[in-house]
Amino acid sequence: MLFHLIRTQFRIALSKTGAAAILFTAATALYADVRGLDWYASAVVLERFVSLTGLILIASVFLPEQDRGIRELVGAKAFSFNKIIMTRLFLAVAICFLLIAALAFVMMMCGSRFPAGAYIFGAFATALFIGALGFGVSGISGNTIAGYLVAVAYFFMNMMEAPKDSALYLFSLSGGNGYSKPTILIIACAMIALTFAVRALRGSGKRGAGILR
């Protein structure tokens, strides 16, 4: 039963985005040329590039229900829509973590030097944060494109002008310390919980994703 649910949801929601995320990670490894990177270059690859897999995978969890036909069909079912979303979310987060860890492993095999545990955690925290931001906006507004847009905007604000000592700074690994990572990981989890809470209050958990324009 559980296996069936996971397999079905993977096929519906994650087959395309999963393929895109794998392609993106592989392309990053190639164009960044991950052989013999030092700590700084490794941090750039992991937290400024591969963390974008969080955006691709997690922010798009509500995407299938953007189609009115699927939304109406899901809304008519008796099972909890939130349970379906949780399953997809769990899969998306797991794939995201595995991709980051896999690339970090490949980088180390190719002679790059960095503390693997801290870097995987740091890159994953960034990925989860931007993914959760997109997930939240998408889940509350009913518009996945808006979710992508807000998450990308926050990502770029951090690249361009954000204060580097902010607790919500996404790229603190490149500064050599990663001080903001635990905070953004906690906030990412809070955003996901808040999205479910808002949807539960609005009753959208039972009748499929609410839709705005």
């Binding site: 039963m1 069936h4 649910l5 079905t8 949801q9 096929r11 519906i12 395309k16 393929a19 895109a20 993106f24 392309a27 164009y31 960044a32 040329d33 013999g36 990177l37 030092d38 700590w39 700084y40 270059a41 750039v44 691709i56 995407l63 299938p64 953007q66 189609d67 009115r68 036909g69 699927i70 069909l73 899901v74 079912k77 008796a78 099972f79 030097r113 960095f114 503390p115 801290a118 740091g122 507004s141 518009n143 996945t144 494109i145 808006a146 992508y148 847009l149 807000v150 990308v152 905007a153 770029f156 604000m157 361009m160 002008e161 204060p163 050599g176 310390n177 990663g178 001080y179 324009r213």
Partner: protein
């Protein structure tokens, strides 16, 4: 026209368009608006000042401004005119060779510079090779073969008559490890160079080739080896060019376009993709397909509506700096160009909007998915990293994002205006091609002759039951 206005109205109410407007406003103030306000205020104050802008108690802009940093101030009001990076053979050559000798020893493993991570305490900040940027802008530490190492040692010897070890001894001042970036120090008293600058440049070209390109020994990084104080005459001619040739507003319009080009390349795609997917989301595409309107008229009208709605917030927000600079000009007796921003936006930014909207249309009509967002975003992200931030590099390539991160420098623009025109015309023509192909694909879909989206869906699912499979 009625259809066009109707389509514009439909975009106006969408969440991505509203978010796009908010991003344009935020980006404007963070990168341009606050800086312009502060420069105008400082021009009135005539002294070095520290500006801090807070929003809801959070500092979002904090910068110490010297008079020399403000292009609006006449050099007659300043004590010094700042520094600029230059190639001065008698400084550039010894500095570059001192750096080369140091990197040679790092790479050979004689020394390395180490800093320590706050995360693990491990020595992370270390260099064991020649620092260089690969073609995608990533910093690498290159290692080389024994033969190549011998060749570099030979180059150092033929330039200075010294071995890398001897140079290192002269420049390290008894420190166990020299600082990793020695480029701005002046080593001309300690390293004597016996070759002419053209010979030196040729040999450094070979060094750069061995390292893999993007090293400190070739353009543009070789220019970072020497700093020179700006002379009064140079500063005065820059100021006069800003006031007379650029009429102030033209220079600021270019700076505005530099930042807004990034916003458009990254975010305008969301507006068009969301707009096209709206039909699919609401299942109205089945209603649109058989309508009695030609494919050309429908797609072209929608394309123009999406492009116009992406251009509108940019044009609207540029009224703010145009008005402020007009008022500044009036109070200081400087003639300004009221249409400078609009001219630059049309010539510089509109081709980017047309192209990005074209990418959104062709990919979305073809696949019925938001794939265009990922394609455009990844491409623009890489372009943003690899495109040089300033002219001439930023305006002379064929990249979608044109960079000109300077207020003034109209001389450089004039020199490379041909490249810039070629770039913008190319993207406008490509946009037209994308639009024509989009119309054709839409027509084929309407006639039921292609269904790429269906094929993708079919390829990715092994059975036809998807949502229906969910457990009850």
């Amino acid at each position: 026209m009625r259809l066009f206005l109707k389509e514009c109205n439909a975009i106006r109410g969408t969440i991505p368009w509203i978010a796009f407007v908010v991003i344009v406003i935020g980006f404007y103030f963070m990168n341009f608006g606050f800086e312009l306000d502060n420069q105008i205020l400082q021009t009135n104050a005539r002294k070095d000042v520290e500006f801090e802008t807070k929003l809801m108690g959070i500092t979002i802009f904090n910068e110490y401004y010297k008079l020399a940093d403000n292009p609006l101030i006449s050099p007659d009001e300043m004590q010094d005119y700042g520094d600029k990076k230059v190639i001065v053979p008698e400084v550039t050559m010894p500095n570059a060779l001192a750096l080369l000798a140091t990197e040679y020893l790092y790479e050979r493993g004689d020394y390395f510079f180490a800093g320590y991570s706050d995360i693990s305490g491990e020595a992370l900040y270390e260099r064991r090779g020649y620092a260089h940027y690969n073609k995608f802008g990533f910093l690498h530490n290159a290692t080389i073969s024994d033969e190549e190492r011998a060749e570099i040692a030979g180059i150092i010897k033929s330039c200075t008559g010294l071995t890398p070890e001897e140079i290192y001894e002269r420049i390290s001042d008894g420190l166990a490890q020299p600082l990793p970036f020695v480029a701005v120090d002046d080593y001309r008293d300690r390293v004597t160079v016996d070759v002419s600058y053209p010979e030196f440049e040729k040999m450094m070209g070979r060094v750069d080739e061995i390292i893999g390109g993007g090293s400190s020994y070739a353009y543009p990084y070789l220019e970072s080896q020497a700093l020179e104080p700006v002379k009064y005459g140079d500063r005065l001619s820059e100021y006069q060019s800003l006031i007379h040739a650029d009429k102030v507003t033209n220079a600021y319009a270019r700076y505005f376009c530099d930042y807004m080009g990034i916003v458009i390349a990254l975010f305008a795609i969301f507006v068009s993709v969301n707009y096209l997917l709206r039909d699919r989301r609401s299942k109205s595409s089945e209603l649109v397909m058989p309508r009695d309107i030609s494919s050309v008229r429908l797609v072209v009208t929608r394309y123009l509506a999406a492009a116009s709605m992406a251009f509108l917030p940019i044009a609207a927000i540029s009224i703010i700096p145009a008005t402020k600079l007009a008022a500044f000009g009036q109070s200081n007796g400087i003639a300004t160009d009221a249409f400078a921003f609009l001219k630059y936006e049309v010539a510089w930014l509109l081709p980017t909007i047309l192209f990005v909207t074209g990418v959104g249309f062709i990919v979305t009509i073809l696949t019925d998915t938001p794939a265009a967002i990922i394609i455009q975003f990844v491409w623009s992200y890489i372009l943003l990293i690899v495109t040089p931030i300033s002219a001439p590099g930023g305006i002379s390539g064929m990249g979608l994002i044109v960079r000109f991160n300077a207020i003034g420098d109209s001389g450089i623009l004039q020199e490379h205006i041909g490249d810039l025109v070629m770039n913008r015309v190319t993207y406008t023509l490509l946009a037209a091609v994308l639009l024509l192909v989009s119309v054709h694909i839409f027509r084929l879909k309407r006639e039921g002759r292609i269904d790429i989206a269906g094929k993708i869906k079919h390829a990715l699912s092994s059975d036809k039951n998807t949502v229906q499979d969910c457990p009850q």
